[in-house]
């Protein structure tokens, strides 16, 4: 179960990255474009572009372990969730709406922080997205500082 505060954080305008294992068995990095916690708060649907992050997403299928980190750029508050991918599918129209709204909100936040539009455009891909459903088994506080990496528990807050 993902706590209400964490769910709200993840669904807000936070920068999202994925750590995965590539087909070659090596670590790989990708960005995610929005996320939505399931109504039961037992899983997260994460949207990402396999054409942009071929290494990171090429090896991800149901049963893969992944790491998902969400960071709020205004204060660097960061959480990492780890767990198993239970499903990978192309986005449906409702998913696309969530991803697009995320990209819009995130763009506004970054522009307010002084980041330039042309930079943001490199990061927030809106097309050709897939949906990864992550069933998290552990959550970590990752905000920079001595407490970074502390496990918040097997059950998310």
């Amino acid at each position: 179960m993902i706590g209400q505060d964490l769910a709200a954080f993840i669904e807000g305008p936070v920068m999202m990255v994925l750590g995965t294992r590539s087909l070659a068995g090596l670590p790989a990095v990708g960005r995610a474009i929005g996320a939505r916690v399931t109504p039961e708060r037992d899983a997260i649907d994460i949207f990402a572009s396999p054409s942009q992050w071929a290494d990171a997403l090429g090896g991800v299928a149901a049963g893969s372990q992944i790491a998902f980190t969400a960071c709020r750029p205004s204060d660097y508050k960061t959480f990492q969730l780890k767990g198993e991918v239970v499903d990978v599918a192309p986005v449906d129209p409702a998913d696309q709406v969530v991803a697009e709204r995320y990209a819009d909100d995130m763009t506004r936040v970054l522009l307010d922080l002084g980041v330039q539009q042309r930079q943001i455009d490199q990061w927030l891909t809106r097309v050709g997205l897939v949906r990864l459903r992550l069933s998290p088994s552990s959550t970590f506080a990752q905000t920079p500082g001595p407490g970074a990496g502390a496990q918040l528990g097997k059950v998310a807050p």
Partner: protein
């Protein structure tokens, strides 16, 4: 290597956070933001390790990491495959990263200062661009490497600074050369007062006010960090770090009555601070800034460091020569002694910080303040205007720290501050190791009651 690392230098400026992913021995991924990736050479990078312990544990177990770095100008992303080599706990790469990290974290107000635990060195197996957002964007062609042209200019400037025998000329030649030959539009030189843990502006170019005598606390901002760590500090995009510049500006504002505003751009985007190092100690800082992002390159950093070292050495030598010098006193200029203008001015000294006010306007504090008040006291009591560095150094009431008193630098500071304020008392240097008071009017000295 799909893209040479030298072609993506802008990714290593700490402007946009990098991302690192690793696997543990069981294959479980970990992904983390990373404050600093340092370009070591064409095939190596070093990652800052403050507290991302899972990443470190994983690479020690599996030896591999994936990194995404972002060009701070364009946003273009690059994916790097890394093989862990070793952790550095000291040495040049470590020291440079520690100083830069301190500057970046204070710029971004990251809460507590993030001390660098180690710099983890990785070999780069491949570096390739990540396709852009909506469409795959063309990778920017690598910028031409300018073959050390800036360093050649710096070496020539260092040589002209070394050719000067007069400390004032060294400072002016340095700043003029930085603006004219190297094209730095806004520059300052500050000297470090180790005892007071602060840096004081000696001279500047490119600002509306000279700001002689303005101060930065040791450890504050890029200037203070460069002096405290003996490392150059370079910031390439301060758009998200307004608080940083404000911290520098506020550092001297504890007492508004005794505050000289630091000259400085209202909204700098790039800053470069090089420590002036002589015999392993910081004696000051050479500082440049710009309203444009990415104004300074790694080569500019090396160039300013080189010139800073030369200026530090030259000033130190001038200091020693002035100490040894026993040149006969030049006769006072005709008219200088006799032509005291009518009128009087009030000089008030506060003993708690040795600050001096002339007609209620703050002039200077610390050793230069003590010095000026002493010279004026002798002048009022005896009418004497000529002094030598040697007698000043021996004067017990001045309480000069004997070994590294930097008397020459303090005199330059005092003289330039008096000139900038168009004060009724000025200092001139009739010869090496000599000081002459030029007083317009009658000083009325006053010592503020303690408390």
């Amino acid at each position: 290597m799909t893209v040479p690392l030298s072609a993506i230098r802008d990714c290593f400026e700490g402007v946009i956070p990098s991302i690192v992913a690793t696997l543990d021995a069981a294959g479980t991924p970990n992904v983390s933001y990373l404050s600093q990736v340092y370009l070591v050479d064409e095939t190596h990078v070093a990652l800052s390790n403050q507290f991302f312990s899972k990443t470190v544990a994983n690479v020690k177990a599996t030896g591999r990491a994936a990194l995404v770095v972002v060009d701070g100008r364009t946003g273009q992303q690059y994916a790097l495959d890394l093989a862990y080599e070793r952790s550095l706990g000291e040495g040049e790469t470590f020291e440079r990263m520690a100083a830069q990290l301190k500057a970046i974290s204070s710029q971004h107000a990251m809460g507590e200062v993030m001390a660098l635990r180690s710099a983890d060195l990785y070999r780069v197996i491949d570096c390739r661009p990540a396709p852009g957002g909506a469409a795959v964007t063309a990778v920017r062609p690598p910028e031409p490497v300018n073959d050390g042209e800036r360093l050649a200019l710096a070496a020539r400037l260092a040589a002209t600074v070394a050719a000067q025998s007069d400390a004032d000329a060294m400072i002016d030649r340095t700043l003029d050369g930085l603006t004219r030959d190297l094209g730095f539009a806004n520059v300052m030189v500050l000297s470090l007062d180790e005892g007071a843990a602060r840096l004081t502006t000696l001279a500047s170019r490119g600002y509306a006010v000279g700001g002689v005598g303005s101060e930065v606390a040791l450890g504050d901002g890029s200037i203070g960090i460069a002096a405290a760590t003996l490392q150059p500090v370079r910031l390439s995009d301060m758009s998200r770090g307004r608080r940083f510049a404000e911290a520098v500006r506020n550092s001297a504002e504890i007492d508004a009555a005794r505050h000289i505003p630091l000259p400085g751009l209202v909204e700098p985007q790039s800053q470069l601070a090089a420590p002036m190092v002589s015999r392993g100690r910081a004696t000051g800082v050479l500082f440049a800034e710009s309203p444009e992002r990415f104004s300074f390159t790694g080569e500019d950093e090396d160039a300013l460091t080189l010139i800073g070292a030369q200026l530090a050495a030259s000033l130190r030598l001038a200091e020693l020569e002035a100490r040894e010098s026993a040149a006969p006193l030049a006769p006072p200029l005709a008219g200088a002694a006799g032509g005291v203008a009518a009128g009087s001015f009030r000089v008030k000294s506060f003993s708690f910080d040795d600050s001096v006010f002339i007609d209620d306007a703050y002039l200077i504090k610390g050793v230069p303040g003590r010095l000026l008040f002493h010279l004026l006291q002798v002048f009022v009591e005896t009418g004497r205007r000529d002094f030598t560095n040697r007698e000043i150094r021996l004067e017990p009431s001045l309480r000069l720290p004997d070994l590294k008193d930097n008397l020459e630098t303090r005199l330059i500071l005092l003289r330039r501050r008096l000139d900038e304020k168009a004060a009724p008392v000025r200092l001139t240097r009739p010869g090496r190791g000599q000081i002459r008071l030029d007083v317009q009017g009658t000083p009325r000295l006053e010592i503020a009651p303690a408390g």
